[in-house]
């Protein structure tokens, strides 16, 4: 394969970052105060929660499943843990480090429940996660009718604290980047990651090839649950409280971010950095509209249009990729003949 083609293919596979760059350029010129350092930090900070959900949804999509319960887990995991540590057993569970651990554990267990139902009991992922989502959201409304605040500073650290040593940026930003880096390595350089992607690409073939596909699917849901719990801690930390509306309505936007980032709905295809790009583009988009004074409800509609655009771009990408490869083949044919 020629170097030029390799470069073009690489560009196509990372088309989300190209779009991001383009969008940033347009906004930097057209939108006042957009390209300032403070606004960029602001965008990234506001994207962190959505980034976690995009990663959670995207990761499950990679295995060929989907998870509608991520925003409910976001609210439930920190909600129930904070409730337990402040109201039910303040003496026993008062330690904030323990609370963080328990929040992650709760997310993981809920994910395991989803994964177990889907892979062992053969339930449909859509229906199973929808039911869990409704159950959890209902429980949160029942258990936490009023917000609980303030939170222990250790617990709210990742959502709220600013790092003086790093130019006073919010801790949430480096935390998010680190997690994405971790998932990039996980997907690209570990046996687990490769087997996980293969399972999403063709579960039957992977099973026949000797991969424990049921374990892969459970692992996907567990990881999505843990990431949702992290998103929950970011949310709770930012508002320094837990409330019953945290995260509501974010699940579908998380699909959008994952799709924008080039994740295939059918599974097997996608990358962590792509998802990050998708999440940031979503955030940048609403920020720009915000600065232009567009109404919140209209921003929502515009995000819908953005998703449509993403699907369109994806089709364009696939056909352009096929054309490039075909041209290369033809050229090669001419070479061997001539």
């Amino acid at each position: 394969m020629s170097g030029g083609l390799r470069f073009k293919l690489a560009l196509l596979d990372n088309i989300i970052w190209l779009m991001l760059l383009l969008f940033f350029g347009v906004c930097a010129i057209g939108v006042p105060a957009f390209a300032s350092w403070n606004n960029i930090v602001n965008i990234l900070y506001h994207t962190t929660i959505m980034s976690m959900l995009v990663l959670a949804q995207g990761f499950v999509l990679l295995s060929g499943n989907l998870d509608l319960s991520i925003d409910a887990v976001l609210a439930f995991a920190p909600g129930v843990v904070i409730l337990a540590s402040t109201k039910w057993f303040p003496g026993m569970l008062g330690n904030p480090y323990l609370a963080i651990f328990l929040t992650l554990l709760a997310g993981g267990l809920l994910g395991f429940f989803n994964g177990f139902c889907v892979s062992r009991l053969g339930m449909n992922a859509f229906m199973q996660t929808l039911s869990l989502s409704i159950i959890l959201r209902g429980l949160v409304l029942f258990l936490i009718p009023l917000s609980i605040f303030p939170l222990h500073p250790v617990y709210s650290f990742i959502g709220k604290a600013r790092l003086a040593s790093l130019g006073n940026i919010p801790a949430a930003i480096p935390v998010t980047f680190c997690i994405y880096l971790l998932f990039h390595i996980l997907l690209k350089y570990t046996v687990f990651g490769r087997n996980y992607l293969a399972t999403g690409g063709n579960a039957r073939a992977s099973y026949v090839a000797g991969i424990d596909t049921r374990r892969m699917i459970i692992a996907g849901f567990v990881i999505a649950g843990i990431l949702s719990a992290v998103a929950g801690m970011l949310t709770a930390g930012r508002q320094d409280s837990v409330s019953n509306t945290m995260g509501s309505g974010m699940t579908l936007l998380a699909f959008a971010g994952a799709l924008l980032g080039g994740t295939a709905m059918g599974g097997g295809k996608g990358s962590a950095f792509g998802m990050l790009g998708g999440a940031i583009l979503l955030g940048m988009f609403s920020n720009a509209l915000n600065l232009l004074g567009v109404k919140v409800t209209l921003i929502h509609a515009a995000q819908g249009a953005l998703i449509f655009l993403a699907i369109l771009v994806d089709r364009f990408r696939v056909s352009l990729r096929a054309r490039l490869l075909r041209n290369e083949q033809l050229q090669k044919l001419h070479h061997t003949k001539g």
Binding site: R6, G201, D212
Partner: protein, 515 residues
């Protein structure tokens, strides 16, 4: 004799079909008369499916004419063929699983009265049809709850009775029927005959054809060898016509093959109820064992049992002297048993992956250190295999879905090679690939694959097995018939054994057959 008959309802004349690289049919003449059952037989690749595809409008012929009810065509579309009264029952039952029996029966033919489905009439008709042929299932049952055999029967009834066609093609319809349902099929065929329809009946079973058909056409290598009425055939002449020049072990590989090494695999009285039983054999390193048998003989099922995909119910397997039993492919792979799936599209490849990633699918853990993949090693091995199996692609990065069938198959073979197992279980590695690819796949099996391992091979045709195997084990309806060593290879004898003739002789003919 044809003078006495009424005019033919179907006439294919001078039909030729050329695919890139192969001639599937050459100047074929095929005729069917009202009220006759016309049998079609030939080896795999003889051109039966192509012929049937052409007359039912699924395949466009390169040359020749098709005459149906007096109208002549150069080619048919499926919709036109259907309108002209050609119904076909394909090999694989395609049925809507979540619709009830009655609705499946009338799918696409739902009668309506005033815009509404005439349920009353449909239910009554469905009940009548099932009752007429003695099929004892409720019309409200979901198709999902039927056995495979009953689903097939339902499709046969749909094509034969509901669609009211003049010409009905039954493409190996009896292969997946139980013995009870086989009798019903007979009844349906008799009924069609007496109501003046033409039935084109395809089967691999000589006995069955001689019993059911009025006339038989034998195809070989894309040509009609013989068309005669049934009385003029017997088992022996028919076998001879089908096989043609008997291939006695062509020595394409023998001289430079080293003698087999140590004993790798020992299988004793392996059984999976209803599919196969009493299967025993052994395999040495450096040896290729072929399994010959018709569809339903258990050849695929035995490989699936050995690889842990559908574990056996009884019997023992020992690998290098160690008694083992695999419950999943991952267990089998750990012990060095790799399976090449029969259905490469759905079980063999991850379509969204590149060629390289597919090649590493089984073996990525081999190139890893504490869970982390060493891409340099993995890529090196993958590119070795990539050139070993001679995949025609310009790069390993290319998406596997862009390859031709033969090259896809090479990727699957390469994939299990990367793992370097002790035993290869190859389930029809040459199915549906062109001649060139077939040749290179067989030479990979005969070369690098057998070099370090033992190979068990099945194939849709005998030629492959005769070409490269050291021994051939013949199965008939899930039971062992005979094992041939290379010196004894004789296509005709093996073919007769696959038909179950040898089996009946050995056991006094006490076999209960499905039809």
């Amino acid at each position: 004799m044809e003078g006495i008959r009424s005019a033919s309802v179907l006439l294919l004349d001078g039909i030729t079909k050329i695919y890139p690289g192969t001639v599937a049919l050459e100047d074929v003449r095929f005729e069917a008369f009202p009220g006759e059952v016309h049998g079609l037989i030939g080896k795999n690749g003889a051109g039966k499916s192509t012929l049937v595809g052409i007359l039912s409008g699924l395949i466009e012929p390169t040359a020749g004419s098709i005459t149906l009810n007096g109208h002549s065509f150069h080619s048919l579309r499926r919709s036109l063929a259907k309108k002209l009264g050609v119904a076909i029952v394909p090999q694989e039952p395609e049925i809507v699983l979540d619709l009830p029996v009655a609705e499946n029966l009338f799918l696409g033919e739902l009668e309506n009265s005033g815009g509404f489905v005439a349920w009353k009439r449909i239910r009554r008709d469905a009940r009548n049809i099932l009752g007429r042929f003695g099929l004892d299932i409720s019309i409200d049952l979901m198709a999902r709850d039927l056995s495979l055999s009953e689903r097939q029967l339902l499709l046969i009834l749909k094509a034969c009775v509901v669609e009211d066609a003049n010409v009905v093609v039954l493409d190996e319809s009896s292969a997946s029927l139980s013995s009870k349902d086989g009798i019903i099929l007979r009844r349906i065929v008799e009924d069609l005959k007496s109501s003046g329809k033409a039935v084109i009946y395809i089967s691999h079973h000589i006995d069955e054809l001689l019993e059911v058909c009025d006339r038989l056409t034998v195809l070989r290598d894309g040509r009609v060898v013989e068309t005669r009425s049934r009385e003029l055939f017997d088992h022996h002449t028919l076998s001879e016509l089908i096989v043609g020049e008997s291939l006695v072990s062509s020595v394409s590989h023998k001289p430079d093959t080293p003698p087999p090494g140590e004993r790798l695999l020992e299988v004793d009285a392996l059984a999976r109820w209803g599919l196969f039983e009493g299967i025993s054999f052994s395999l040495r390193r450096g040896e290729i064992l072929g399994i010959a048998g018709l569809r339903g003989s258990g050849r695929t099922e035995i490989l699936k049992a050995l690889s842990g995909i559908e574990p056996a119910d009884a019997g023992s397997i020992s690998l290098k002297g160690k008694a083992l039993f695999f419950r999943s492919p991952s267990e089998a792979l750990r012990e060095g048993v790799a399976y090449l799936p029969e259905d490469r599209e759905s079980e063999g490849l991850v379509k969204v992956f590149s060629i390289g990633d597919n090649l590493l699918l089984n073996s990525i853990s081999k190139f890893s250190n504490r869970g982390f993949v060493s891409w340099a090693d993995a890529r090196r091995r993958a590119s070795e295999v990539f050139s070993d199996v001679q995949i025609h692609a310009f790069s390993m990065e290319q998406n596997v879905d862009e390859l031709s069938g033969g090259n896809k198959q090479k990727v699957v073979i390469g994939r299990i090679m990367t793992k370097e197992p002790d035993i290869y279980l190859l389930d029809e590695p040459t199915r549906g690939v062109d001649v060139g690819a077939k040749h290179s796949i067989l030479s990979i099996v005969n070369g690098p694959l057998r070099a370090g391992a033992g190979v068990i091979l099945t194939s849709p045709g005998l030629d492959d097995l005769l070409d490269i195997c050291d021994r051939i084990m013949v199965l008939y309806r899930g039971m062992f018939v005979r094992e041939y060593s290379r010196e004894e290879f004789d296509e005709k004898n093996i073919f007769m054994d696959m038909q179950g003739f040898g089996f009946q002789k050995q056991r006094g003919g006490g076999v209960c057959r499905a039809v």
